[in-house]
Amino acid sequence: MATPKPNAAPLTLAELIAQATGTSVLHCYQCGRCAAGCPQNQPGAMEISPTRVMRLLQLEAAFVDDPARADGFARRALQSPTPWLCLGCQACTTRCPQGVDIAGAMDVLRGQALQRGLAAKDRRSGDIRTFHQQFLAKALRRGRIEELPLILRYKLARGHWRQDAALGPAMLRRGKLKLKNSHSADTRQVLKAIDDLRRSPRGGP
C-alpha cells in the first residue's frame, strides 16, 4: 500500500495556486465556461483549453501518492503554450461559477514553467515569453516601462524586425512611443512598493 505523502514533499501546482490566488483549482467542476469565453481559445489555436489545464492540475493533486504520474500531469500543464497564450483578460476568472481565479492560476503556471525550465518551446510561446520576461525585468529594475527600448530589445532577441514595423510611425505620431527617455519621479519608492508586495503573504511578481 502506498505510504502517505511525507510532509517535506514539494507543493503541488494546485497548492501553489491556492497560495497565490486564494482559490482552489480543485473546486473546478469542468463546466467549460472559461474555455467557452476565452478569446485566445480559437479553433486550432490552443492545444489545451483552460478547462483542460484545470483538469491536469486536479489530476496532479489526485495522484500525489504516485509522484511519477503526478509529475507527468504537472509537466503537461507547465509545458503547454496555454499559460503563454493567456492575455490575462480575466474573462474566465470573472465568469467562473466556482470562483476559481483561472487567470491567476495561469500566472503561477508561467512563473513555475520558467523556474523549472519547462516553458513551452514553440515560436509563438517563445515570443510571448521573451516579451513577458523583458517587460518584467525592466519594470522590476526601473519601476517603469519605456516602450521604445523595450520593443528594440524584444526585436533584437527574437529577430523578426519587420513584424508590426508598419505600426511604428503611427504609434510615434500618436505619442504611444516616445523617443526621449522618461523616468519615474521617485523610482526608489516604486521599487520599494514592488518589494513590499513580494514580501506580502499572497506573494508578488
Binding site: 502506498a2 480543485l26 473546486h27 469542468q30 483542460r52 483538469r55
Partner: protein, 665 residues
C-alpha cells in the same frame, strides 16, 4: 320520444383544425331524436359546461352526447355536468372525435364525414341508455401494510395515527428493512439507526398497529373495501409470547459461522439469532437450514438453556385470514450482488464489495465497529475506488434506468472514508453526478471541495487483482479520454437497485401491474403516483422505483393519506357498470341454463350460483348471479354466454347493436 342534445367541442385546434365542427353540429341537428345541437371551442371549460346545463333544462333533454376527447379524459366531467342539470349521469355519452378522428386524420372532409358517423352512432346508442344508480359496497375500516422497512413503518404509523387499525406485515423477523443496515444518511450524515429505531419501536408499540413479522402474504381475495388476506406466519421455532429476548440462546448456539444476511455476508451469526441488536421485536428465530438440531437431531442447547422454555422445535407455519379494506405495498428493493459483475475481478474478489456492504463496514454497529477494513486481510485500505453506475444505465445488459440513489450514497461513502481513514485516497468513477434534491448538490461538492474526493468521469472497464491490490481500468473523459489505471486496496460498487426477486409473484397475487424492469406500476406517473390500477391497493417506497429515504417517506405518507381518505367513507360507491343475468317472469325465471361458462371465464370470481325455488321451497333450477361488489364490468361473461342471458349495464346488447347499426350508411 327521446330528446337528445349534441355538443361538439373544437378542443381548441385539436379537433377544429381537422374536423368542421359547425358542420358536424348541423348534421347532428337533422338526426332522428336530436332536439338540440351546438358546437363550442372548449366544451370542458366553465362556459362550455354552462351551455350543456342550460340546454338540458331549456330543451328538456333526455340524453346528451359530447363529441370531444377520449372518455378516459372527460367522461367523468361531463357526467357530473349532466347530474348537475338533473339528468342521470349514465344518460351522457362521449363521441370520441379527437383520438379516434381528428388526431389520426388529415383530410378535412373525410374526417368531418367520419365525425358525423361517430356522432350518429352515439346518438343511436344513447337512446337505448337507461338511468343507472351507483352501487354501494360496505367497507372494512382496516388496512394491511406489506413490508416493514421505512416505507411500511411510515405508512403504518400515519394510518394508525389517523385512527385506523393496521396490520404491518414483514417477512424478516425484525422491522427496519434496508434503512436499518445503513450507516449514516445523506445529506445530513445523521446516523440511520438513530433516526429509524425510534420509529420501529413506535410502530411496534402503537395500539392501532398489529405487527406480523416473519410472516408473508399467502393470498388475497376480495376487492376494494373488502379484501380477505391470508397470511403465513412462518415457524419461528421460538414461542415469542414466552421469549423475553434475554439472548442466552444466541450466545450459546454452537453454530456461529453462518454468514449474516443483515451484515451482507461480512459478519457472522448463529443458527438461532436476531438480525441486529436493535431488532424490533427483539426476539430470535431458528434458521432451520443451519440448525444442528434440525440437521442431526442432536444439540438443542438453546432449548435446554432457555429460562422461559420458549424454544419449540415442533412449531409449524400458521395460516390465518384477515379482513382489510385497503392494502399498501411497501416491499422495497434489493441491489445487484457483486457476483453479477464478472469483469470486476471475476465477481468474487473479497475486496470488491457493494455499496450496501460498505454501509455495514462504516456502521458503528457493523462487523468492524465502524472501521473501514478490507475483507481479505482486515487492513485499512489506503486507496479506495468507488465505481458508480455498476449495472445501472446499461441497456445492453437489460437495465436502462438510473438507480437514483447511488450518486448521493457514493459521495457519502467517499466522504465517510476520508473522515475515517486519515490520508486515505478516494476516487469515484462516474458517468455524471446526479444530485437533485435539497442540499444534495452542496453535499456532493462538499465531498470534492472539502473532503478531497477525486472524481473521474469514466466507467470502469475492468478490474483485476495484482500484487495484493486491485487495478481498476478507467479513462478520464475530461482529459481527452486518456487511459487511467487506478491501484486500489478496496473497490466499492454502487450496484444497481433492482426489484425484489419475488415482486412479480406478489404483484400477481394482488392483481396489480409492474413494468418491464419489475417495478410496480402506479396508476399515473404524475397525477396518481401512489395508486395502482387496482382500486384500494397503494404503493409506497422503492417497490415502485428506486427512491431515497425522503422520497420514500413522502410517498408512504401519501399512500397513508389515500388509505385514510378511502376509509373515511361510510361505504364505497362504485360505478354501476356491472354484468347482470337477465331475469324473466315464471315459469322461465331466466334463459340462463346454468352451464357456468361465465364463472370459468370471470377473472374476478364475481359469478355466484343462485337456486330458484318455488313457494314450497322446491328447487326449480340453478342459474348464475353476478356479485355486483366483485364485478369489474369487463364483459367477458357476456361474450361467453351461450344463451345470451348476461348483459352488461351501460354496455347492453341493445346499446352496442344500435350504435353499430347506425354506423352502416
Amino acid at each position: 320520444m327521446s330528446r337528445i342534445g349534441v355538443f361538439i367541442c373544437h378542443c381548441g385546434e385539436n379537433i377544429g383544425k381537422t374536423v368542421d365542427c359547425p358542420a358536424v353540429a348541423a348534421a347532428a341537428r337533422r338526426m332522428p331524436g336530436v332536439a338540440y345541437a351546438a358546437d363550442y371551442r372548449y366544451t370542458c371549460s366553465e362556459p362550455g359546461q354552462a351551455q350543456i346545463r342550460t340546454a338540458i333544462k331549456q330543451y328538456g333533454l333526455t340524453g346528451i352526447i359530447v363529441g370531444a376527447c377520449s372518455p378516459r379524459m372527460h367522461e367523468r366531467t361531463f357526467r357530473k355536468v349532466a347530474t348537475a342539470a338533473g339528468l342521470n349521469p349514465y344518460l351522457c355519452e362521449i363521441a370520441n372525435l379527437r383520438e379516434q378522428c381528428s388526431w389520426v386524420h388529415t383530410d378535412r372532409s373525410a374526417a368531418t364525414a367520419k365525425a358525423i358517423a361517430i356522432v350518429r352512432s352515439a346518438v343511436a346508442r344513447v337512446q337505448c341508455n337507461t338511468p343507472l344508480l351507483p352501487i354501494h359496497v360496505p367497507l372494512t375500516r382496516r388496512a394491511l401494510v406489506i413490508g416493514g422497512g421505512i416505507a411500511g413503518i411510515q405508512a403504518a404509523l400515519d394510518i394508525a395515527d389517523g385512527g385506523v387499525e393496521v396490520i404491518l406485515l414483514e417477512r424478516a423477523s425484525s422491522l427496519g428493512g434496508h434503512m436499518a443496515q445503513l450507516s449514516e444518511t445523506f445529506p445530513t450524515l445523521d446516523c440511520s439507526q438513530c433516526i429509524l429505531t425510534p420509529r420501529m419501536v413506535e410502530a411496534a408499540s402503537h395500539p392501532k398497529i398489529r405487527l406480523e413479522t416473519y410472516s408473508e402474504l399467502e393470498r388475497v381475495d376480495g376487492y376494494v373495501g373488502n379484501f380477505q388476506v391470508t397470511i403465513r406466519r412462518k415457524a419461528r421455532y421460538v414461542d415469542w409470547s414466552k421469549c423475553t429476548g434475554c439472548g442466552t440462546c444466541w450466545q450459546k448456539c454452537p453454530q456461529k459461522k453462518i454468514a449474516a444476511e443483515f451484515e451482507e455476508g461480512l459478519g457472522r451469526r448463529t443458527a438461532i439469532s436476531i438480525p441486529s441488536p436493535q431488532a424490533v421485536p427483539n426476539k430470535p428465530v431458528i434458521d432451520r437450514a443451519n440448525c444442528l438440531k434440525f440437521k442431526t437431531g442432536k444439540c438443542g442447547i438453546c432449548q435446554k438453556l432457555c429460562p422461559t422454555q420458549a424454544v419449540n422445535f415442533e412449531q409449524k407455519d400458521e395460516l390465518f385470514t384477515e379482513a382489510v379494506g385497503t392494502i399498501v405495498v411497501a416491499t422495497g428493493f434489493q441491489t445487484l450482488g457483486k457476483e453479477y459483475f464478472e469483469l470486476y475481478a471475476g465477481g468474487d474478489h473479497p475486496d470488491v464489495i457493494t455499496g450496501l456492504q460498505f454501509e455495514r463496514l462504516a456502521s458503528a454497529s457493523g462487523p468492524t465497529g465502524g472501521g473501514i477494513r478490507r475483507p481479505s486481510d482486515g487492513q485499512e485500505p489506503r486507496t479506495v475506488v468507488f465505481v458508480q453506475c455498476a449495472g445501472s444505465r446499461e441497456p445492453a445488459t437489460g437495465r436502462a434506468y438510473c438507480s437514483k440513489i447511488c450518486c448521493m450514497y457514493t459521495a457519502k461513502h467517499a466522504m465517510l472514508y476520508r473522515h475515517k481513514v486519515h490520508g486515505g485516497r478516494a476516487f469515484v468513477l462516474c458517468m455524471d453526478v446526479r444530485t437533485p434534491g435539497k442540499g444534495y448538490d452542496e453535499f456532493y461538492r462538499r465531498a470534492v471541495e472539502q473532503d478531497g474526493v477525486n472524481y473521474i468521469r469514466s466507467r470502469a472497464a475492468r478490474i483485476y487483482p495484482e500484487n495484493g491490490q486491485l487495478v481498476v481500468e478507467a479513462a478520464d473523459t475530461l482529459n481527452g479520454g486518456e487511459r487511467l489505471e487506478l491501484r486500489a486496496d478496496l473497490v466499492v460498487l454502487a450496484s444497481a437497485a433492482i426489484p425484489q426477486s419475488d415482486v412479480r409473484t406478489l404483484a400477481q397475487k394482488l392483481g396489480i401491474g409492474y413494468d418491464a424492469d419489475g417495478w410496480l406500476s402506479e396508476a399515473h406517473p404524475k397525477l396518481r403516483p401512489v395508486e395502482t390500477n387496482t382500486a384500494g391497493i397503494f404503493l409506497a417506497g422503492a417497490v415502485q422505483g428506486p427512491k431515497d429515504i425522503p422520497d420514500t417517506v413522502g410517498q408512504a405518507s401519501a399512500a397513508a393519506a389515500k388509505v385514510l381518505g378511502l376509509l373515511s367513507n361510510q361505504d364505497l360507491q362504485r360505478d354501476p357498470i356491472v354484468a347482470r343475468v337477465r331475469r324473466m317472469p315464471p315459469p322461465e325465471y331466466s334463459t340462463c341454463l346454468g352451464c357456468f361458462a361465465c364463472a370459468a371465464a370471470c377473472p374476478y370470481q364475481a359469478i355466484e350460483k343462485e337456486e330458484i325455488k318455488d313457494r314450497h321451497g322446491e328447487w326449480i333450477k340453478t342459474i348464475a348471479r353476478v356479485n355486483a361488489g366483485l364485478c369489474q364490468g369487463c364483459g367477458t361473461c357476456v361474450s361467453v354466454c351461450r344463451s345470451k342471458s348476461i348483459d352488461l349495464d351501460g354496455f347492453t346488447d341493445d346499446q352496442m347493436c344500435s350504435a353499430l347499426e347506425a354506423l352502416e350508411v
